[in-house]
């Protein structure tokens, strides 16, 4: 509750330590990758300016690399480079490469032919022509490329937080997950300022006259190196175990905050995206992760849930939440969505998740198989009485639920369906619902309570233990506050959970969170 009323300034000064270190990490990541991109890109640019035949191929490859979505690229890096700084730097380097290669090439081939010829005719050696004529004359264009690369890197570096490389993305994506605007801005504003300032400084250098430019060019590499040095790899921990928590988990009372206050858990923690967290745990990059109890990857990666013996994780019963207006507009909708009520138990959901997450079956197929097995499947009617818009968050379970609902609506009603799946986090999904961009999406009671309503801690604590109470409370409060209705729960409880690899849990004899705390205190 307090957080909502905090001003941005209060938030930023309260978190100034974190903000400072994140900014340094951000600058560091940007510049380390920039240095590497220059070291690789400049010679490549020169090479293709000499051997023009290669230019198509090299610019083509760099161009294709540039178009890989940043998240996907980070994902590709994990099997090879693990998590943390290395893959982030490599990914950033790949994005910075194209502008540097291209501008070096353009700069060099753009030099007046008579000037090049004069240089040769005066008796300069090839090396002298390059160093004294070509590079200085191409420098403004090359600098423009470096400038573009820098600005791209500042932007992409926000995504580094997905793979535990830190940077301002920790605040931005944490804030999006936690419905905390101040947190988003605390990350976004410095990132934007960083981009603007670096752009301005580099534009200044780029437009300098030749006399000054020469001096600056001696200083520039040193400055870039120093800035790159800001990124001190977080290796100073002697801790025996490493935890990887999602940005959302980090900021929640029923998350890292609760672990600290209720259990007194002290563990070396890095922030990481949910998409790569399980894999990292499996690959022994992480020892403890914050997962979801119905996640299919639990089964896939042979992970064990640690018992929450002090009950900090409230129940998370899933149920569709629908705008009241949508219920009026589509009279058959409520009845149809409730067909699923109570049908999916924890174990069924885990199995469905396992099939998509690990067996890589399409959510459509998983959904259809499930409905057929329950005798609920009906062939689509191709309805024309309006389109129901379904939203989903960006993880497997939500995709499956969205598919199931889509099939139910198409089979049982005369409505058509549009799905908007993969909405970034709770905040994005809920804002889409509030602003009439979607009609409903599956939400969890615990999230509704703690993230969206954010009652005072006392109420929260009281609610948290009881499934029915929580459901009743959020139903009433959502109706009153947002004109949004909670339909009947689907049946499963996807609560937060701490998990470890089965094998390690056995070895260390850690079965509950208290065990974990005791183990950490001893070691």
């Amino acid at each position: 509750m307090n957080e909502q009323h905090q001003t941005l300034w209060q938030f930023m000064s309260g978190q100034s330590d974190k903000l400072f270190s994140q900014t340094l990490q951000h600058v560091g990541l940007t510049f380390i990758s920039l240095i590497l991109a220059i070291i690789i890109g400049l010679p490549l640019g020169l090479l293709i300016a000499r051997k023009r035949k290669l230019s198509g191929m090299i610019l083509g490859i760099a161009g294709v690399l540039q178009t890989i979505p940043s998240i996907a690229l980070l994902g590709f890096m994990i099997p090879v480079l693990g998590i943390g700084a290395k893959p982030a730097i490599v990914a950033l380097l790949i994005y910075a490469l194209l502008p540097i290669i291209r501008n070096t090439y353009t700069g060099i081939i753009g030099i007046d032919l008579p000037v090049k010829e004069a240089a040769r005719a005066m008796g300069m050696s090839k090396r002298q022509v390059l160093l004294k004529v070509e590079l200085p004359l191409a420098m403004p264009v090359i600098l423009a490329g470096i400038r573009t690369a820098t600005v791209i890197n500042v932007g992409v570096a926000t995504l580094a937080s997905f793979i535990a490389a830190g940077g301002l993305g920790e605040f931005i994506f944490g804030g999006i997950s936690l419905n905390n605007t101040n947190m988003i801005l605390a990350g976004a504003i410095p990132a934007a300022l960083l981009a603007i300032i670096l752009d301005a400084v580099l534009s200044l250098i780029q437009n300098m006259d030749i006399r000054k430019l020469r001096k600056v060019l001696y200083i520039l590499p040193i400055v870039i190196l120093l800035l790159g040095g800001f990124y001190i790899l977080p290796s100073a921990y002697g801790a025996s175990l490493t935890a990887g928590f999602t940005p959302e988990f980090m900021g929640r009372q029923d998350g890292d905050l609760g672990l600290k206050s209720v259990y007194g858990l002290k563990i070396h923690t890095i922030v990481i995206s949910d998409a790569v967290m399980y894999k990292a745990a499996y690959a022994k990059e992480l020892d403890v992760i914050s997962g979801y109890s119905t996640d299919g990857r639990l089964k896939a990666f042979d992970l064990k849930i640690l018992k929450d013996d002090k009950n900090i994780f409230p129940p998370y019963y899933a149920a569709p939440i629908v705008r009241d207006e949508a219920l009026k507009q589509f009279p058959d909708l409520e009845k149809t969505l409730n067909l699923l009520a109570g049908k999916i138990t924890d174990s069924i959901m885990t199995d469905l998740n396992y099939r998509t997450d690990y067996l890589h079956q399409q959510p459509e197929r998983v959904a259809k198989d499930f409905l057929i097995s329950k005798g609920l499947y009906k062939a689509p009617k191709s309805g024309h009485q309006g389109t129901v818009r379904i939203g989903s968050k960006i993880f497997g379970e939500q995709y499956i639920l969205a598919e199931i609902y889509s099939m139910l609506i198409k089979g049982y009603t005369a409505y058509d369906v549009a799905t908007k799946t993969g909405l970034g986090g709770t905040k994005i999904c809920f804002d889409a619902l509030l602003n009439n961009q979607i009609d409903f999406y599956p939400e969890y009671t615990g999230t509704g309570l703690l993230v969206l309503l954010q009652p005072n801690p006392k109420v929260a604590k009281e609610m948290a233990q009881d499934k029915e109470k929580t459901y009743r409370y959020v139903s009433a409060a959502f109706e009153k506050k947002f004109k949004i209705k909670w339909l009947k729960p689907i049946g499963f409880n996807n609560s937060y959970a701490l998990m470890m690899r089965q094998k390690q849990s056995k070895e260390l004899n850690v079965n509950s969170i208290t065990d974990l705390k005791n183990y950490l205190d001893k070691n």
Partner: protein
């Protein structure tokens, strides 16, 4: 000084230069003349190995240039080009000092030589700190010349050196060029497509067509004894002007009126008819006092000049 022996060069399927041979004597100016695409520039660039010939041999000072490091060779040959090619990121002083720096001259020597040269080329000293784009076209061309001359190389190659200039500037720079003491000692190969310029500056002209040498000779030889129609046609358009340029007063001395007068201000009889006409036209003078052989002075006006020239022409044709 410079000798080309059966030089040939192909670019792809095009035979750019075919069996070209000529030699240039010390302190001589040879002009390679021809329409664009005739191979004259390619020929020139093979002399300092900007282009390597496919076959043939080039000797400078009786040494085969192939045996020399091309960079070292080029540092010993002055080069002036049509587009000037000054380095935009160097000051004028830096541009002029380029080759001496490559040759590791000491700073004081570079400085004194630079100052000497820009004085000779009528450039103000203030331009030394400027950048090329701050100069006019004529000034830039003079700087280009200074850059080529600074180390006083015995050989100078010039590729359409006045090509980028407007007519007025070109004429005045050509005059300066001709008068420059520094250049009279040099062995020069110059490329141009401008017949008048060739006649103005050349000791001998090498007329090229389709990659081959058509005729080599003095301007007079080309004009009055063309070996074929190619030469005749090439010069036909500007024949009269060229005749005025190759003929000097000494040549028509016999056809000028007697009138032996003594006068203080005289001009030399090796003045060309063209130059004499210009003096008579521009300076609003009605008469010119010319001092010929044996210190005889004749006074001539415009009509007498043209009349004398015509009589001389007739006599030439009936020879």
């Amino acid at each position: 000084m410079i000798e080309l022996k059966e030089i040939s060069k192909k670019f792809g399927d095009t035979q750019a230069v075919k069996q070209v041979s000529f030699s240039v004597a010390k302190a001589e100016t040879l002009v390679l003349l021809g329409a664009s695409g005739c191979g004259k520039t390619t020929t020139l660039k093979m002399v300092n190995r900007l282009i390597e010939p496919d076959s043939g041999q080039i000797l400078i000072n009786k040494q085969d240039i192939i045996a020399q490091n091309p960079d070292v060779l080029r540092r010993g040959i002055g080069y002036v080009m049509q587009n000037i090619g000054l380095f935009p990121h160097y000051t004028i002083a830096g541009n002029i000092a380029l080759v001496p720096k490559l040759l590791r001259w000491d700073k004081a020597k570079i400085k004194s030589r630079t100052q000497e040269l820009i004085k000779k080329l009528h450039l103000p000293e203030s331009i030394l700190a400027m950048y090329p784009h701050e100069l006019s076209g004529g000034q830039q061309q003079r700087v280009g010349l200074a850059r080529a001359l600074i180390t006083d190389p015995p050989v100078l190659l010039m590729d359409e050196p006045f090509g980028a200039l407007d007519n007025v500037t070109r004429t005045s720079i050509q005059k300066e060029f001709k008068a420059l003491e520094e250049l009279k000692r040099k062995t020069i190969v110059m490329v141009t497509h401008d017949v008048q310029e060739a006649f103005e500056l050349a000791d001998r002209i090498c007329l090229m067509d389709k990659g081959e040498v058509v005729q080599i000779g003095t301007p007079k030889e080309l004009l009055y004894h063309p070996i074929n129609d190619v030469v005749k046609n090439f010069l036909a358009g500007q024949r009269l002007v060229l005749e005025f340029k190759v003929t000097n007063i000494q040549d028509i001395w016999y056809y000028l009126p007697e009138g032996i007068v003594y006068h203080e201000e005289t001009v030399n009889a090796d003045l060309s008819i063209w130059e004499a006409m210009e003096l008579l036209r521009n300076k609003d003078r009605s008469e010119l006092f010319v001092c010929g052989a044996g210190k005889i002075v004749k006074s001539i006006n415009f009509e007498q000049l043209t009349k004398g020239f015509n009589q001389y022409q007739n006599a030439q044709q009936h020879e």
